[in-house]
Amino acid sequence: MLQIITEYKVLDAFWMTIQLTVLSALGSLLLGTFVAILRVSPVRIFQWAGAAYVNLVRNTPLTLIVFFCFFCLYQLIGWHIAPTTARSNVHTFQWAVVGLSIYHAAFVAEAIRSGVNTVPVGQAEAARAIGLTFSQSLGDVILPQAFRGAIAPLGNTMIALTKNTTVASTIGVAEASSAMKTAVEFSSDVLYSIFFVMATGFVILTLPMGIAFTHFSRKLAVQR
């Protein structure tokens, strides 16, 4: 097992997986929060735009979105985020992050919206009744409850994101599943060990996340 890990640079591959996860998590949280704001805003056209984003992106396979970003936007049209002089694997990595962020932003937006939906209308009415202004009732009463309600669904989205980073291997990012592919192709006799090592890597990544999110969603749950 140790030999597999050193020979096929498993740790490097998982470090790439972690980088993809963290950056895409940040990207999808930013974009997703923005889409969620659009969806719950009082302006009709914003609601419509937010709903369109969520419904279009959520029903498209992640593979297709990542392909579109990489093959169409980068290779065909030549849009790039890093300077053109950067090495090609930098570009690939960045477009993988963009694709993952776009896809998971739809789920983040839904998670936040479902958090807002857990707040009973009575809370807003009570806030108004005791004379709080609009910003006070939003900032002190409603949003704190909404964030707490969103923790569990956000946690599930982040765990799904960690697993979905494997899709980046389809455009050639050297992360865990592409390391697995290489390893199996060169030493197929230890197929089971390779799968076990790789799968355990993901269990190690996602299990603590699951426990942490469950813990916080319970600890911070609003008692009703």
């Binding site: 396979p61 936007l73 919206r113 707040v119 799904a160 291997s169």
Partner: protein, 305 residues
């Protein structure tokens, strides 16, 4: 739109004016963004790039076979996953601690491994261990990968469904003299399965999207066959847009069907049950459909029972 009534008051005349102005300005910004993207892609969206999709041959030789492969893998996987999921779900509900513990480890393990890795494993397993003929390798990989992962998700759904039932159901079953197994089989499971039907349909959306992962193990799904088409015609952007539209159309209908089913089931039951069902949302995140009752399925007591 309960979200609105929580966050905002009903707009007065002044707020309505402000909303209208903000809406127009924001709408223009959104429009400008869309135009910028389309402008960036303008060379790829010309009429001759779309032309192949007006020919019958494209649909007969590329779109239809690809779509057929995608649907085939999805339907076979969902059927197998339902059967295996039922077995695993019953295993987790078992009163034999060994069985419930073993299935718990199995389910938790395969739930935290990416689908793509299971596909890769199944693909190479069929290549090196089973030595299947080359044609069967990709479809074996796709179906086994999807089945393993989704059966674990469904097992969790069944467990959450049974634990989500009112306590009185089980107690009443035991009180009239049924055994634990009889109570489970004739009282708890039928209700739990009915309650999870909408989630099952949503899971089909996830499976359908995940068939696209078969790309890496050369499964000739919709995306791959449209990519093959565009290799000759040079219209990759249009091909991907068509593929996305097909997926969106199918998945959106499935999601709508799931929502309709959920409403219908919720309406059919009386009183407290209807409330319990509406508190179990299937809609927001089809990747992980059971966060609505996370506190139920994480209940440590249920592992050992």
């Amino acid at each position: 739109m309960s979200a609105q009534s929580v966050l905002f008051d009903a707009p007065g005349p002044r707020a309505q004016r402000i909303n209208a102005v903000v809406g127009i300005v924001g709408g223009l910004i959104i429009l400008a963004l869309l135009v910028a993207i389309i402008y960036g892609l303008r060379d790829q969206l010309t009429a001759d790039k779309w032309a192949p999709f007006l020919e019958a041959d494209t649909w007969i030789y590329y779109v239809y076979p690809g779509l057929w492969m995608t649907l085939q893998a999805a339907v076979i996987s969902v059927l197998l996953a339902t059967v295996l999921g039922l077995v695993l779900g019953l295993g987790r509900l078992s009163h034999n601690p060994v069985i419930s513990w073993v299935t718990a480890v199995f389910v938790e393990f395969f739930r935290s491994v990416p689908v793509l890795m299971m596909m890769l494993f199944a693909y190479y397993f069929s290549m090196f261990v089973l030595r299947l003929p080359g044609d069967f390798l990709p479809i074996f990989g796709v179906i086994v990968g999807l089945t393993l992962y989704n059966s674990c998700v469904l097992a969790e759904l069944i467990r959450a469904g049974v634990h989500g039932l009112p306590k009185g159901q089980r107690e009443a079953g035991l009180a009239i003299g049924l055994t634990q197994a009889q109570t489970l089989r004739s009282i708890l499971l039928p209700q739990a399965i009915a309650a999870m039907l909408p989630s099952l349909v949503s899971q089909l959306v996830v499976i359908l999207k995940d068939t696209a992962l078969g790309y890496l193990i050369t499964y000739p799904d919709l995306i791959r066959s449209l990519q093959n088409l565009s290799a000759g015609k040079g219209n990759l952007v249009v091909a991907f847009i068509v593929a996305a539209l097909i997926f969106i159309l199918i998945n959106f209908s499935l999601t709508s069907f799931a929502r309709w089913l959920e409403r219908k089931l919720a309406g059919r039951r009386a009183g407290g049950k209807a409330v319990a069902l509406t508190q179990l949302p299937i809609d927001p995140d089809p990747d992980e459909p059971m966060y609505g009752d996370s506190d139920k399925y994480e209940d440590p007591a249920s592992y050992t029972r």
